[in-house]
Symmetry: D3
Subunit: 238 residues, 6 copies
Amino acid sequence: MPTGLVVSAHAADFVWRAGGAVALHAKRGYRMVVVCLSFGERGESARLWRQPGATLDQVKSARRKEAERAAEILGAELIMFDLGDYPLRVADEDLFRLADIIRDLRPAFILGHSAEDPYNYDHPLAKNFTHEARIIAQAHGHNPGAPVVAAPPLFLFEPHQTEQCNWKPQVFLNIDEVWDIKRRAFECMQAQEFLWEYYTRVALQRGLQATMNANSGITITHAEAYQRVFPAVVEELA
Amino acid sequence: MPTGLVVSAHAADFVWRAGGAVALHAKRGYRMVVVCLSFGERGESARLWRQPGATLDQVKSARRKEAERAAEILGAELIMFDLGDYPLRVADEDLFRLADIIRDLRPAFILGHSAEDPYNYDHPLAKNFTHEARIIAQAHGHNPGAPVVAAPPLFLFEPHQTEQCNWKPQVFLNIDEVWDIKRRAFECMQAQEFLWEYYTRVALQRGLQATMNANSGITITHAEAYQRVFPAVVEELA
Amino acid sequence: MPTGLVVSAHAADFVWRAGGAVALHAKRGYRMVVVCLSFGERGESARLWRQPGATLDQVKSARRKEAERAAEILGAELIMFDLGDYPLRVADEDLFRLADIIRDLRPAFILGHSAEDPYNYDHPLAKNFTHEARIIAQAHGHNPGAPVVAAPPLFLFEPHQTEQCNWKPQVFLNIDEVWDIKRRAFECMQAQEFLWEYYTRVALQRGLQATMNANSGITITHAEAYQRVFPAVVEELA
Amino acid sequence: MPTGLVVSAHAADFVWRAGGAVALHAKRGYRMVVVCLSFGERGESARLWRQPGATLDQVKSARRKEAERAAEILGAELIMFDLGDYPLRVADEDLFRLADIIRDLRPAFILGHSAEDPYNYDHPLAKNFTHEARIIAQAHGHNPGAPVVAAPPLFLFEPHQTEQCNWKPQVFLNIDEVWDIKRRAFECMQAQEFLWEYYTRVALQRGLQATMNANSGITITHAEAYQRVFPAVVEELA
Amino acid sequence: MPTGLVVSAHAADFVWRAGGAVALHAKRGYRMVVVCLSFGERGESARLWRQPGATLDQVKSARRKEAERAAEILGAELIMFDLGDYPLRVADEDLFRLADIIRDLRPAFILGHSAEDPYNYDHPLAKNFTHEARIIAQAHGHNPGAPVVAAPPLFLFEPHQTEQCNWKPQVFLNIDEVWDIKRRAFECMQAQEFLWEYYTRVALQRGLQATMNANSGITITHAEAYQRVFPAVVEELA
Amino acid sequence: MPTGLVVSAHAADFVWRAGGAVALHAKRGYRMVVVCLSFGERGESARLWRQPGATLDQVKSARRKEAERAAEILGAELIMFDLGDYPLRVADEDLFRLADIIRDLRPAFILGHSAEDPYNYDHPLAKNFTHEARIIAQAHGHNPGAPVVAAPPLFLFEPHQTEQCNWKPQVFLNIDEVWDIKRRAFECMQAQEFLWEYYTRVALQRGLQATMNANSGITITHAEAYQRVFPAVVEELA
């Protein structure tokens, strides 16, 4: 059974940015695992904090439930690292924990955040954390008993303001057959309702762009875009 | 029958830089077509010019024969535009000729030169010529009777000093099963014997890099590397 | 009376990419002038070419009418250079013509295409043409009798697939008060109906991004984004 | 009363790099606040260390006095974080302290260091510290009682060897009306007298460049240059 | 006798940007040759055009005299191509003429303009013209009788607004021993007196930067900065 | 007696990447010092870990012996920091230790890792550690008694997959006279035998490239390539 891994800085990132990939591969029989490094409790829960008397625990609990519901809809297992946000900070033991998850899963691909983001310091940190964990999972001297992984490709999903992040689509993934699932997962995110339409429009824009880049003549309505970190290895160019 | 198109500035570029792709796809049943914009007669035939009394016609003729033999070995059809080199110069009628070839072939992919090369002004010009011809082949108002092409991907093959050209591998193509053919094609290029070993080493370096980037655990000995101009459109990420 | 100049490669570019700026400044009393270098007759009129028996003259005529209606709605004067497209080609006399228009108008700003576009060779060429004409308009030895211009800023409007063009928003222009006008101008473009929704979504995405970048707390629903070519000169930072 | 905030890695950076902006906005009624993360005691006080028997406390005390005098001349309040230099190191509590200052001030703009500097590791660190603090000041879950800030723009002032830092002017600020004040502030910096003339020349070069980029025909003799981190949001382009 | 070649788009560029290198190498026994592609008659002679009744011939003649005097002071031979400016346009026969000059001189180095310049389209064109001519001078098939050159390094001298041109100093040349000569050459340029002080300050800024980058402890007061196009080949790193 | 310093993240990096520079300068009378931050025990010792019952101490010991033998062959002194790898982590006391080594040695040059490497997080960290230590060694307030260094140039040696690291050769060093020594040092590295041929081919590729970039007509068979961090300061351009 092939697997895919998504590493999300905050509770909702995997939904907006990679929910289509999660649902699509889950539908095709992949085991999909989402690691959330934080709940986005401090920095991405404005609406919850506007409620009188809100506490950190309440906010975290609310966001956990949203993420769990969304993961269930998308067909993914969810692992919460609960490392805090704004700022996210990671220790080497967290790194080893993720490296061991990568070793256990032996994923066919890993999805993570963009390398830059002037609006968000947690996102690039999460990318580096994911990227370094993948490399440690390849090191024979890390937990010498456990088998190392080969070279799972790392795809960077779409940040909120792409051009400011110097992030560039290199792969368009057709998500038409799971679009309704992705949209339903959006609707779990009560704390960020203003993003539902934003990311619906992102999916439509990427859909038309995918259509324009496809050589097959296919029409794609909804797509997700990814940047690759490593080159692809292929047996044929077409 | 699927097709592939290679556009080479000089007679030998397609051999060093894309000979593996040509042979591999030919072997798999593709119709492979190579367009050479020039013979490399002025700028890449030093050895021939060192022969006493060498003339331009002799040099062109010798290089044509080499290119024909190499194309035959690789399994490609060869079209010579004979536009001159050092400097290569192109007119709009040449552009339309290439656009029409693209329309006729409806290629599954196009291979061309790098976008920059501080050692060679003909190479980037050939890239732009190829790139613009592909776009014109998509324009409904160009030869309105003939059907337009969709969006054939354009891959840029490896320049001689890659880092100076800001060229970056995004795709490694395993050419092990045709390496002996590519090497035999090298040996047609009597004018540039010093490059045989250079590009054999390039194939070996790219082979080890491909092995290190493959998630399948495969060992690749010889590879070619390409940079993509357009994003890929996929139905699955792995 | 202040003026603004837009230079558009094809008949419709100024509508999708800068229609809000045109309408907004027109409404505020600017004289707005749009120069179209071509009608987009060959490369951006697919729908018209699908009509049986379509001729180049018919297509040009149809696109001219669309552009005229759109310019009228937006409140701009329209100048057609009719230089052809796919490929657009410019001569020095065209350059001098545009330089003289710049001198006549003494624009407060000039709007043009992005510097790169892998999907379109006419767009970067139009940008360079505009940019060079602006510089020639500054040269005292060009038409020595006529007064030179100072340094009109050049803003590059949004290409279709921004990230592929390495184009980055540096300025968000609030176009809420003219959005309905811009949308009506879209609807003149019968040849490219599929773009109406695409560029409506662009306006909405840029609107939310503008809101997120504004320090004033303002909510912006529709915006246009621009990249600057030259630094701004200011008397205060806020 | 509008405010502006400057975050300086070492005691003198705000004088050379942003002294004009401080004086200009102070003169126009802004409350200007300068945060110095260190005194530059180890790395930017060579002249003081050449005095026999110099101690760290003496050097810090001398540099503190210089910075206080300079801030007074420029019209700014000065806050010393005293975090050490060469290397500067910051903790999350420092980050929260700066975030809270940003919340208190609600600045119309923030000025900070360049993103890169191969001659100085403290400068990019100070930029990231400033940038991340600004983002945390926006997070509703940080000190939930206190009102968040909107999106204060961040301008990066000029490093010593600009091209090596990939720093690029996007805004020229006319500082002619406060140039004499900025120059007097230079003269407080007894520890770095060789920089007085250097940064006087910087002001003159930027002045001529500002003149060449201004469309108004104004002549500017002294200017400061800044790079923007975030796009501007505007209601008109001219 | 070693030689050096400078290719200048307009009559005065070689003075401001490379006058120190010319004078220094001339003093050390190099034959220095300056090729001016134009007189800068249209675009860089504002002061001359302000004289009532100025004609193109008068302006060209005045600028020719200035350039000749400056070249004489610096110790260089001057070759005028007279190709026009704003816009500069070059034909292949001009390219071959420069290639043949390069072959005749067999220069130890070539100096040219920056690769980008948003304020000036002639400068990058001149750089490309120089760069391509150097490559053609290496081609055995160009004028087969004449011996080819090896690989003369190409250094790009300083544009007016360096950061806007993405130009970066990689080499600082100490010009202290010829600074007075360079300054005297400035003073021939009556048409651009406002640049005398500007480029004097450039020399001083580069001098201090050179001092800060030198490992020898030397103090340099005046320097010129260059960007390299090709890697250096060395026998020792220090 | 001049000195050179190399800072290597793992035990073998200095051999593959800078072994020629070490041997060449040692032969010419330089004192050459190599600092290894780790043994590469976890991440670059796959072959050793494949031996049944391998322990961390055994692996470190084996790699230490290899590095010692290689250093002896190359003619260098070896200092082991033993900071661990995959992940390498550094503390400020390590930084001060390296800064003090730099002060003691007063090196004519420092060699370090590339600034980026998507395959290895230890390499860029080692580069930054080296770079920051060099800057601290210049700070008068660090160990005020000891004399500061001037500005030793920092050269970045070749990473494994150069283009992925955005690393670009700016200097080719001819290592023909010490190639046999470098090759013998390779053969100490029993843990990474598959790299012997890879880096032999790198030397040959760089050799041919060096030949093509040399203006002297020299033929170079083996070379090493370096990127510079700081500009060079020269007294003559040729």
